[in-house]
């Protein structure tokens, strides 16, 4: 008998360990849930970590108001199924209350506005640990993240001054008013996530599978047509139906879609394993500058 775990089981075990550390070390954790595959994976792992008890923290969705309708549908169904509490931080409400001002123009996006709503929601709820489904393979600034990532009283990340992380030991000690971002799936790649979701038979939002949708092209990225995006006249004219799917799910204004015929999760794995572009390659929010992600993360973006 040889005692060894396959790589997916080893990743699962590591993530479960981290989730349990959060439950043990923090008083008021919250799980950031966007409706994307990574946060779906997080919920799945959290169920495993605390079974047969319920997941001991609420889910938090920062709602830009510019979601794909499919995302909200999936979110509400999942929340009901697992009996979790859902907290929604609304960007629309914050705009209506005059707390933040909306960007204008063709490239307007509420992506940046999420940060202040997220920080305010965390503060209001006195949450001391926010669990996120970010992965190190996604983006070069995220490659430098810790599992337990310290945030000061302003919610800022100080990448040059991070606590070293060794072995199985996670230091979640903090002073009053500070909080942590915790990333249990740091070591998973896009391909790992898909392989695991396939092996576990997890149900996913329809957006990830190829479907017909009106799209148009901007700066080399295909965007789904919707009322939230201000289009240039030539873009209006170029809208056409294509077979596409999402590789990541975010705000409709900045989430690119990809031409694809992948109808099943097996198709997706095949597609991802030969993909020549990163999944965030379609994210307009990362393209604003070379260090767009690092800059946002320092301010408290997740």
């Amino acid at each position: 008998m040889s005692y060894h775990l396959n790589h997916l089981k080893e990743l699962e075990s590591e993530s479960i360990f981290v989730l349990r550390e959060v439950a043990a070390q923090f008083e008021r954790p919250v799980l950031m849930f966007s409706g994307g595959k990574d946060s779906i994976l997080m919920v799945h792992l959290a169920r495993k970590a605390f079974y047969p008890a319920r997941i001991p923290f609420p889910l938090l969705h920062v709602d830009t108001g510019h979601n794909f309708p499919e995302t909200i549908e999936y979110r509400d169904k999942l929340v009901e199924e697992i009996g979790a509490k859902l907290i929604v931080g609304s960007v629309q409400d914050a705009i209506d209350e005059g707390k933040i001002a909306e960007e204008k123009g063709y490239n307007a996006s509420r992506n940046y506005l999420q940060t202040s709503v997220l920080l305010e929601t965390l503060e209001e709820g006195k949450y001391d640990a926010a669990l996120g489904g970010a992965r190190r393979d996604e983006e070069k600034a995220r490659a430098k993240e810790r599992f337990f990532s310290h945030r000061d009283e302003f919610g800022q990340w100080d990448p040059k001054n991070q606590r070293p992380e060794l072995w199985n030991l996670f230091n979640g000690k903090k002073n009053y008013g500070e909080h942590f971002r915790v990333f249990p799936i740091s070591n998973w790649t896009e391909l790992d996530v898909w392989m695991y979701l396939a092996a576990e038979g997890v149900e996913l939002p329809s957006l990830y599978f190829a479907h017909e949708r009106p799209v148009f092209e901007r700066d080399g990225i295909l965007l789904a047509d919707c009322d939230y995006i201000q289009k240039r006249p030539e873009e209006e004219g170029a809208i056409e139906e294509r077979m596409v799917r999402c590789r990541t799910i975010g705000d409709m204004t900045c989430t690119g879609v990809w031409e694809s015929q992948a109808a099943t999760i097996e198709d997706i794995i095949k597609e991802v394993s030969i993909a020549r572009k990163t999944e965030r390659g379609g994210r307009a929010d990362d393209k604003r500058s070379e260090t767009a992600m690092e800059d946002r993360k320092k301010q408290g973006y997740f």
């Binding site: 775990l5 008890a53 060794l166 199985n168 030991l169 230091n171 020549r276």
Partner: protein, 419 residues
């Protein structure tokens, strides 16, 4: 299609500077295994051009922070991922300069394999010794020494043999068992992914073949049963009314249903009633599995406690001899008090004695110099407020390791390996 439920996970650390060709080697592994994406490559190429650099600087792939890119140095450990049909690899890429010992130690703490690069023209340097020493200190099970830039020494076997001999001459003093040598050229690709026809005198495997096949099944301790309790699960629902599960990750040994166990610190005996997971009950559990254990008796047991076998106990002590690597610019304080994180337990300690500071280049033990600053390695004696349940680090990397945390700032200031 690849059977992805049959892949293993291997973590390795690379230490070295740009001069050794480390970035080129990582770039080569990623590129040849098709793990660099077009848009990543394009972005790096554009950045290189903007900086007026010659060619594509693959270091920009891993140096993700603005300040790293500005200064052209790696400040922090960068993690990179790639896979072949056989294994998934996690690379902890750490800078090689002396001031970054703490990063090397961090990257080494979880690695199965340490990859050490030597420039064939320069041979074994101080830096090489340092890397090898850290690999042995952190008990990385396998060491692979890549003698790089063989193309610049005409693929000369004698050069290779000489370096191999030099390395062995000092490494016999270290605590490393499994050392492997490979002559490569990262730039030309010789013996990295594909065997080279320029080194007919070398019969061994390529680097990738080695990484895909090195036996890591015994890297965990499967003998001494250790289960640190992480938290107690009590669902309080009708269906699971009396359920009391002890959640945690197996740190050593193989636990089986029905095993007689002993609980620490109470010393009470019980039996494993069930090893539980959401996917059903397990007959046995071993490292590094995360499971939930149920015992036959209702006993006092909570986070920080440990389940072990009746006839195989860890040490239970308050006075510990520790090799410490210091991470902070505020030096280690003799008589100073620190919080200690060990398995799932947290205690406080006082530093009772600094035995010696170790010169990691010469391995000289300096008993006069007791100033332990950032990146220094020293042997110290600590006394903890409560007994710890531990094994020597050599025996178990999980139950033998601990962190020093500064009270007040909560910074992680040191990493300790129990002797």
């Amino acid at each position: 299609m690849t059977d992805y439920t049959n892949m293993e996970l291997l973590r390795f650390t690379t230490a070295g500077s740009v001069d050794d060709g480390k970035s080129t080697l990582i770039g080569r592994l990623l590129y040849d295994s098709k793990s660099i994406f077009e848009d990543q490559y394009d972005a790096v190429r554009d950045s290189s051009e903007r900086r007026g650099e010659e060619g594509v600087n693959l270091a920009l792939l891993t140096d993700g922070l603005k300040s790293e890119r500005e200064q052209g140095i790696t400040i922090d450990v960068a993690y990179r991922y790639f896979n072949t049909p056989k294994r998934k690899f996690i690379i902890a890429d750490t800078p090689g300069h002396i001031q970054y010992t703490r990063n090397m130690v961090t990257g080494a703490s979880t690695a199965n394999v340490a990859l050490i690069l030597i420039d064939a023209r320069k041979g074994v340097l101080e830096q090489t010794r340092r890397h090898a020493f850290i690999a042995s200190l952190l008990q990385i099970p396998h060491l692979v020494v890549c003698i790089n830039k063989m193309d610049l020494v005409d693929y000369n076997e004698e050069v290779y043999e000489k370096i191999k001999q030099d390395f062995e001459e000092f490494s016999y003093k270290l605590d490393v068992n499994d050392v492997h040598f490979i002559p490569i050229s990262a730039l030309k690709g010789d013996n990295v992914v594909n065997p080279s026809d320029k080194t007919p005198w070398y019969q061994g495997s390529t680097l990738l073949y080695y990484l895909e096949n090195v036996h890591i099944g015994s890297d965990h301790n499967f003998i001494d049963c250790r289960f640190p309790v992480q938290l107690v699960l009590r669902p309080n629902t009708d269906e699971f009314h009396d359920y009391r599960g002890y959640a945690g990750r197996i740190a050593g040994g193989v636990f089986k249903k029905g095993d007689k166990v002993m609980l620490l610190p109470s010393g009470f005996a019980s039996k494993i009633a069930k090893i539980d997971t959401l996917d059903g009950e397990l007959e046995e559990a071993y490292p590094p599995m995360s499971v939930t254990m149920l015992l036959e008796d209702d006993l006092d047991l909570s986070r920080g406690d440990m389940i072990v076998r009746e006839n195989n106990h860890p040490e239970v002590e308050q006075d510990l001899e520790v090799m410490v690597c210091w991470f902070h610019d505020r030096p280690l304080q003799l008589r100073g008090k620190y919080a200690i994180l060990h398995t799932t337990q947290e205690v406080r300690c006082i530093v009772k004695e600094i035995r010696y500071k170790l010169d990691i280049n010469t391995l000289h033990r300096n008993e006069e110099d007791k100033q332990i600053g950032m990146n220094d390695i020293a042997r110290v004696v600590i006394r903890t407020t409560k007994p710890l349940f531990f094994d020597a680090y050599r025996k178990n990397r999980i139950t033998g390791s601990l962190l020093f945390v500064e009270e007040g700032t909560n910074d992680t200031v040191g990493a300790g390996m129990i002797i």
